[in-house]
Symmetry: C2
Subunit: 409 residues, 2 copies
Amino acid sequence: MFSLSKRAKLLPVSPIRRLAPLATAAARAGKTVYYLNIGQPDIETFPAFMRGAAKVPKIVAYSPSQGISEARLAWSNYYKRHNINFTPQQITVTTGASEALSFAMLSLCDPGDEILIPEPFYAIYKSYATINDAVVKPITTYAEEGFHIPSKEAIESQITPRTKAMLICNPSNPTGTVYTLEEMKWFRDVAVKHGLFLIADEVYREFVYDGREYFSLFHLDGIEECAIMVDSISKRFSACGARIGCVASYNPDIIDVFTKYGQARLSPPAMSEYGLVEVLNDPQTDVELDNMVARFKARRDVLYEGLKDIPGVLCHKPRGAFYVVAKLPVESSEDFCSWILSDFDLDGQTVMMAPAADFYATSGLGKDEVRIAYVLNRDDLKKSLQVLKAALEAYPGTKVQTAVKSEAS
Amino acid sequence: MFSLSKRAKLLPVSPIRRLAPLATAAARAGKTVYYLNIGQPDIETFPAFMRGAAKVPKIVAYSPSQGISEARLAWSNYYKRHNINFTPQQITVTTGASEALSFAMLSLCDPGDEILIPEPFYAIYKSYATINDAVVKPITTYAEEGFHIPSKEAIESQITPRTKAMLICNPSNPTGTVYTLEEMKWFRDVAVKHGLFLIADEVYREFVYDGREYFSLFHLDGIEECAIMVDSISKRFSACGARIGCVASYNPDIIDVFTKYGQARLSPPAMSEYGLVEVLNDPQTDVELDNMVARFKARRDVLYEGLKDIPGVLCHKPRGAFYVVAKLPVESSEDFCSWILSDFDLDGQTVMMAPAADFYATSGLGKDEVRIAYVLNRDDLKKSLQVLKAALEAYPGTKVQTAVKSEAS
């Protein structure tokens, strides 16, 4: 009687939100909690977005299912500035990258189909696969190698007759890795050779540091049939709550299916569409974005230098996005992340981090790792690092260090 | 190579939007097109919603996945005014009723599971079933009977071992039917007896005319385990583009699953949540809503009286929502709806209506029916009726009338 669906039961509880009750309890007990667990920047939403949102018509009506034409054109012009050539007709405006990802998976995967994803990966990919009865097959990458793809063969070896697609996040949440041109070509070549779709989540496109060159999947030749862009303004304009993004492709069959999914849910949120138009078109936006990325680069430096100084912590230098996956000298980072919230404070301060095991599909991997989002100002990051260092000194489960050393990718 | 998913291929093109190119062409050719095809009211969004949306914090951040606490509380208080007792914790704020419906279907149906829906039904139900690999089984209702449920047995006879849930829309889109207490009890009793979930789409709750009493599913006893509420502010505050609604249940297992789905898509659109809070809490809202419903009642009267006067048109008197399904004296309403846009005008005016076959799961039904949304002012409705009457006189496919008569439910 009244039995829920299998996928409903299988759907994981968000790892990032699982520790939330402990953080709430710590805050209630008067502790200062530094939230390094979630990719929510502390930066004001770009004013052009707010101005645009206020311009929504007095009848807040359904927009066309693919988005208002001004929004599709604004995306198209934005992409041109990044040397990516989408016509407005190839772009469907979505309710954030979440919906873009949902449209992509629904369009490609039947129940039981497999999707290859480099691990560790954004945990929500697993949720969307579960919702679609699809199976995540990991391409394992390692902290010691800066979470780069080991080889083209490492990708191909995971392909089975059920493999339908690959999904890459570049720059990567959770690792901060920026794929090289060689790696991007591996993905492309494998996709084309094996007839696999290739979904690129590029919401952190502008968050690239140290003068590294960024290669969008859509900078490559030969991807016309297989490639799908998943995008969002959440991070680049600090508008996470706006829930506005897009999904795009050069493949007309895919575009048609996105249109049908768009029609099923009627339209994206209208106010956010008007905000999107204004912020994408405003000439001031690129300047503000450069400034914001420079701030995140400075934060990255503080965090990386600080982590290197903590005995037993292994951490590659993240080159993009605003996350790092760090190995801690503990057995279970989940236990440690709970303990630091519940049983520890340094002068009334503690930190919330995301245990990394949930970012892996392979059972057992990532158990001693955490994802840290450097979404706070440098002073708070420095304090967070002091808390983490003191906590690892105090934690009963911290391993005695022998010869672990930090490593820069 | 590069083959899309089966469900992507099966997903229907939105019937309401299929005629759009013809309407666009008619408008380009200088005709005035009266849009009676879609439930987009011509009424300004309630000002309280706009005021609230402007109060979103300067960092438009992810809200909690279940919605900001103020929004859940505002929904809870709203429901209390309608004698429905949801605690804020039983309510998940969603991106419109579309997402609420999606959460419900995902939570209940595994691939191949069946869901019973009275037909004609809101066409998008079929899209969501397809997305979830679920199967719609219709409970057929008839224009001649005011689209009421024929009997409890008519519901039960459609149950198979794969039946998982029932879905009712009350007041109904597309028929305007308001279910009686007896009908509501039939649904409840069948659900409880057979262990079926019962989803109630009540987005038109306030749109009830002629002093009829409205019975929410949640006014009944015994539905604690099985019942799911799907709701939205789109219609009642004329905020279709805001994409904000909720899904709610008394069943803690269902609430837990909704939370997990909510986490997967992170959060509802934040500005719309703030708008929701203000418009649900504003004491002026109920007054404005009463005035709006009175306007729709007057429109209903104009439309119904006008349709009765057109020879060969059969139309029951809709008691709620703002739609009617009318039988026309033609073989194919789809052909007629295309023809009236492409090949007909009365003094430069034409109308767009939705062919009703797409609102049926049973092949062959509804072919001579249209859904008309009375979302225009009375003058425009009167002009639309003149156009329709003249078109049926001019249409080569109009059947010669014998003894068909209009009927009031």
